[in-house]
Amino acid sequence: MKKWLAITRGHPISNYFFILPALGMFLTFSLYPYFDVFRLSVLSWDGIALSKQFVGLANYTDILFNNESWWISFRNAGYITILALTFQNGLALVLAWLVDRGARGAQAYRSIYFLPPIISGIVVGLIWYWILQPDYGLFNSLLSQLGLERWQRAWLNDPDTALTTLAMIHMWRGFGWGFIILLAGLQGISRDLYEAARVDGAGEWRIFWKVTVPLMVPVFVLVSVLTILGTMQIYDIVITTTKGGPGYHTEVPMKRIIDEITSARLGYACAQGVVFGMILFFVSIVQIQLSKRAKVD
């Protein structure tokens, strides 16, 4: 025993004991469930019954070729993601740039813009659900007071506006994240570079395109990847506002997966989770590669 203690006490192997708890937790709660999802995805199983039927890749082929509502939900989430990537992040960049340039009240804006992201998605959904109520909601009342009655509508009920309205709520909640990350990126750029560009006679617009944007590419990549991952997994706002309706107009992949679980099709839901994860992984990789190429150019 003494000999073993003598070996381990001074030996580098003892250092590994420090990471064992974290490693154990990672293996148990992250890696094992991750691989177990693959195992479950090839089964037909309700999650309760003792018998599980091996179905091979049948769950996958059904998802890929027979499940129309799954791809509708993907298209819907994709639409919200495109809006978030463009409008949400565009607005976040403009505001971050203004704050970085020392706009009046910058400190206050920094706090205000970061308020929505720290509110629970459920709460955000419930607040907007109330604001957008067609008969007594704040938004339609406001339109009425502005004399814009013809614009009034059941925003979350109308198939023409439901998804875009949902995207607006999501962007309202999400743009603070992009704002904070982009602001941190902008503040990391040396002021000397701007000074040097000005000495060389560059205008503000040129400085933005030739100095700021190239140096911000890694930050843009980070924000874009986080936006794609966060938006494609939208769920809480959907469930508190439209519940995927009307019809399939606001169905999203996360809701489809959870619906399958509650419909006692756990194996199928796991296969959906794998397909969803693969697609997000692929999109993220493509995004990073394109950004790397843009940086080189």
């Binding site: 999650g47 008969d135 009920n157 309706g245 009307p246």
Partner: protein, 433 residues
């Protein structure tokens, strides 16, 4: 050495925390029971009853509330997968899912405990209430025949009208609509009087399905509905199209609340309780809910209007809150004894008075308010999927109810929805996944 001691302490702490989180949720001590439930409105009454039981028997019963219901459903499923279900719990699911729990050994067969005869435990209950957890011999789920749950209350889901708003529109609240056309005509009169005719939480598609099955039973009778669920009658059958046309009439007449298809039941209840709409579709639990929201609300339930006036007008109901005993619990007998006590007349009476829910136990007539009694009378002609001879597949139900949402927003025709539903049914029949 100190560092080694801290390592050991750290490991011990982790092991302890993991051990604690992974322990079985059932009561550990012989004199304690754990009950999982989702009934936020009944929490206070159940805790009071647990206190009384402790005083009478020394048994500590811990009611653990998990809400909302979908969170609870997931909790129970995870509990089953990890063998950590408590001594007593409820399963919010259809007969097919209950069968899975039973076959996996998570639910005790209570037939022997319920007994037979006029003094038996079984004799206390309304048959419809007890039958929601009953599997007959040769059932399609291959479950051993018997009773697998104890109902503590029941529900009916009828239409409800607001009496003052009816009067305001010059209508007689004692003459609710008997046919679908009358329902639409009355809705139009209400709209003309500046009152929204109808509201319901049809963002929750199960409520749409409850009305659709009521109407289907009225229109074509139970055998044809079951034949459709079995797959021998297609959803494109003229009767089903006629049923879908009933929803189209709601859309075309404009009698419904604008947010009907995304409204959840809680917000629908708020609208009806605040007298923003004159008719609704809601469960008998609403007596308790409306009493909290608007104690002066004057309303009356009525069965869904008929599509076929010659047939009876069934109301979805009979099932309610059911407790199951964990067959793997070391305190199974104690759990059964507690449920016997809970459903004895004094406790059942206390629950009815305190929670304003319809009792599953007979002979509590004097304890039921007249308002609740009106809902109770509809029980006689109730239908419920747990008592159907065949359950429809959730994917088909989804296509049907989402399709009805599409009809209600004027996006699809009844014929299109019937075709979509028939196609989904065909896929489900071919696909064994």
């Amino acid at each position: 050495m100190k560092m080694w001691f801290s390592h050991v302490a750290l490991f011990a702490l982790i092991a302890l925390s993991l051990g604690t989180s992974c322990q079985r949720s059932g009561g550990k001590k012989a004199d304690s029971l754990i009950v999982w439930h989702w009934m936020t409105d009944r929490e206070e009454a159940l805790l009071e009853l647990a206190k009384q039981y402790k005083e009478q028997t020394g048994m500590d019963v811990q009611f653990q509330l998990y809400a909302p219901s979908d969170t609870y459903t997931q909790k129970v499923r995870i509990g089953a997968q990890t063998e950590s279900l408590p001594d007593i719990y409820g399963i919010l699911a259809e007969a097919r899912d209950l069968a899975s729990f039973i076959k996996a050994g998570h639910v005790a067969n209570l037939t022997a405990s319920l007994g037979e005869g006029k003094d038996s435990w079984k004799s206390r209950f309304y048959t419809e209430a007890l039958n929601t957890s009953y599997f007959e011999k040769g059932n399609r789920y291959e479950v051993s025949p018997g009773y697998y749950g104890i109902p503590i209350d029941v529900t009916t889901i009828p239409m409800i009208l607001n009496r003052p708003l009816f009067r305001k529109a010059g209508l007689n609240p004692d003459k609710p609509p008997k046919t679908w056309d009358e329902f639409i005509a009355i809705g139009k009169k209400l709209q003309a009087a500046g009152v929204t005719g109808f509201v319901s939480g049809w963002g929750e598609t199960w409520l749409i399905f409850s009305l659709a099955t009521d109407l289907a039973h009225n229109l074509m009778g139970a055998p044809k509905v079951m034949d459709t669920f079995r797959g021998t009658v297609p959803y494109t059958d003229p009767d089903w199209v006629k049923l879908l046309e009933a929803f189209e009439k709601i859309e075309k007449s404009g009698i419904a609340d604008q947010s009907l298809v995304t409204l959840d039941n809680k917000n629908s209840e708020k609208k009806f309780a605040s007298e923003r709409a004159a008719m609704t579709l809601n469960g008998s639990w609403c007596v308790n809910v409306y009493a909290g929201m608007n104690p002066n609300l004057d309303y009356a339930p009525f069965p869904p209007p008929a599509l076929n006036p010659k047939n009876s007008r069934p109301v979805w109901g009979g099932a309610g809150s059911v407790f199951h005993v964990n067959d793997k619990s070391p305190h199974k007998e104690n759990a059964i004894q507690f449920l016997k006590w809970l459903t004895d007349t004094p406790q059942a009476s206390f629950l009815v008075k305190k929670t304003l829910n319809l009792p599953s136990v007979k002979n509590l007539g004097k304890d039921i308010s007249p308002q609740l009694n009106a809902f109770s009378e509809l029980m006689e002609n109730s239908i419920h999927p747990n008592r159907f001879s065949f359950s429809e597949d959730p994917r088909v139900i989804e296509t049907l109810t989402k399709g009805i949402q599409s009809i209600l927003i004027g996006e699809k025709t009844p014929q299109q929805v019937a075709k979509d539903t028939a196609e989904t049914k065909e896929k489900v029949l071919q696909n064994k996944l």
